[in-house]
């Protein structure tokens, strides 16, 4: 006799549902608690110099680094957070002290830094950013520019309490 509860059609539909749900991120445990923290990227801390000074701009400027800083979980915008950045630019190498600078996020959790044009170094046009103030876990980012001709770069930090 045909089982009305567990027909083959039901089984196929259920299996299909599981496949769709798992591939479409309908159930991702890490996000169940809200916004997931940003992970440190490979090579992000390369040529890092702790304690770079807060500056109005790095060198002569011309390239815009922007970003937003939020708290993991509830996504609250974090103001007054110190973000440090450095890159190989038209004015210097990554390891040069003058290539490093820091700024603070505003009331909307956003920051903007005017810095020299980033140029390809070690095969890629990329920047480095760090959150290292201690209140939240330290994060190092190494964003890559879509094109080496770009004159701006945007990053997102989602920080996790230390």
């Amino acid at each position: 006799m045909k089982n009305p509860v567990l027909s083959r059609r039901h089984m196929l539909a259920a299996a299909g549902g599981i496949v769709v749900a798992s591939s479409s991120r309908l159930t991702v445990p890490a996000q169940a608690a809200g916004l997931a923290p940003t992970r440190t990227m490979r090579g992000g801390a390369n040529n890092y110099r702790p304690g770079a000074p807060i500056v109005d701009r790095i060198g002569g400027g011309g390239f815009t680094m922007t970003g937003r800083v939020r708290r993991a979980g509830d996504g609250m915008l974090l103001s007054g957070q110190r973000i440090q950045m450095w890159a190989h630019t038209t004015e210097g190498h990554e390891r040069d002290a003058d290539s490093h600078g820091a700024t603070l996020t505003d009331a909307n959790g956003e920051f903007t830094m005017d810095m020299p044009q980033i140029v390809p170094a070690f095969g890629q046009a990329h920047g480095h950013l760090a959150y290292d103030s201690g209140e939240f876990k330290t994060v190092f980012l190494r964003p890559v520019m879509a094109s080496s001709r770009d004159t701006s770069l945007h990053v997102e930090f989602v920080l996790e309490p230390a």
């Binding site: 490979r42 090579g43 992000g44 190498h93 170094a121 095969g123 190494r142």
Partner: protein
């Protein structure tokens, strides 16, 4: 004027193509805007890499006696000296990059670099060192000629493949079209030499 045979004409065209690809790659890299933002040591690293790439074109050709005007035996000597030069240039390339940015080179050597091309580059480096090493140790390890030859060819093939991917993925000094041309030449000369070697043995 002496009439060229079809084969001689063909060879002339091939050599002109190889020479143009090399000249094109050297010219575009020497005029690269990136150079103005690199220290002399970083420039040295860049050109050492390009130099090694160019020599890798002549390596398989000299091994099978394809270098015009030289006997097979003289070709072998050229092959030896160019091989030493390739190893030296690779060491200068990596060493000067190390001085430029130690953490990036350490990441690359440990195969944890964020950039794919470093992994291919380091793989190619070890293959080049391996190819040289099996040659140095050939007598002391008493390799049979055939065993050594197969090992050497396998290692340089890996080196060429790794180098080509390394170069293809890099945003560096060589301009894109020149890059494609020189990669075609590097792979082409290896393949032609492999076919020639197979016919002979």
């Amino acid at each position: 004027m002496r009439q060229l045979t079809a084969y001689q004409t063909f060879r002339l065209v091939i050599w002109m193509a190889i020479a143009s690809a090399i000249a094109f790659a050297l010219m575009t890299s020497a005029r690269s805007p990136l150079l103005q933002w690199r220290d002399p040591i970083y420039q040295l690293a860049s050109f050492a890499g390009i130099g090694a790439l160019v020599l890798m074109i002549f390596q398989p050709l000299s091994a099978v006696g394809f270098v015009p005007g030289f006997s097979q035996r003289a070709g072998r000597r050229i092959h030896f000296f160019l091989g030493v030069a390739v190893v030296a240039l690779v060491i200068v390339h990596v060493g000067a990059l190390w001085v430029t940015s130690p953490p990036d080179v350490i990441d690359a050597l440990l195969f944890v670099s964020p950039t794919q091309f470093s992994i291919w580059g380091v793989g190619a480096m070890w293959a080049i060192f391996g190819a040289a090493l099996v040659t140095i140790l050939r007598r002391s390890l008493s390799f049979r000629y055939r065993t050594w030859s197969r090992l050497h060819v396998a290692l340089v093939s890996v080196a060429v493949a790794g180098t080509v991917v390394h170069i293809a993925l890099i945003d560096g000094l060589i301009e894109t079209v020149a890059k494609i041309a020189i990669c075609v030449v590097v792979v082409g000369t290896l393949l032609v030499s492999l076919v020639r070697r197979r016919r002979r043995t």
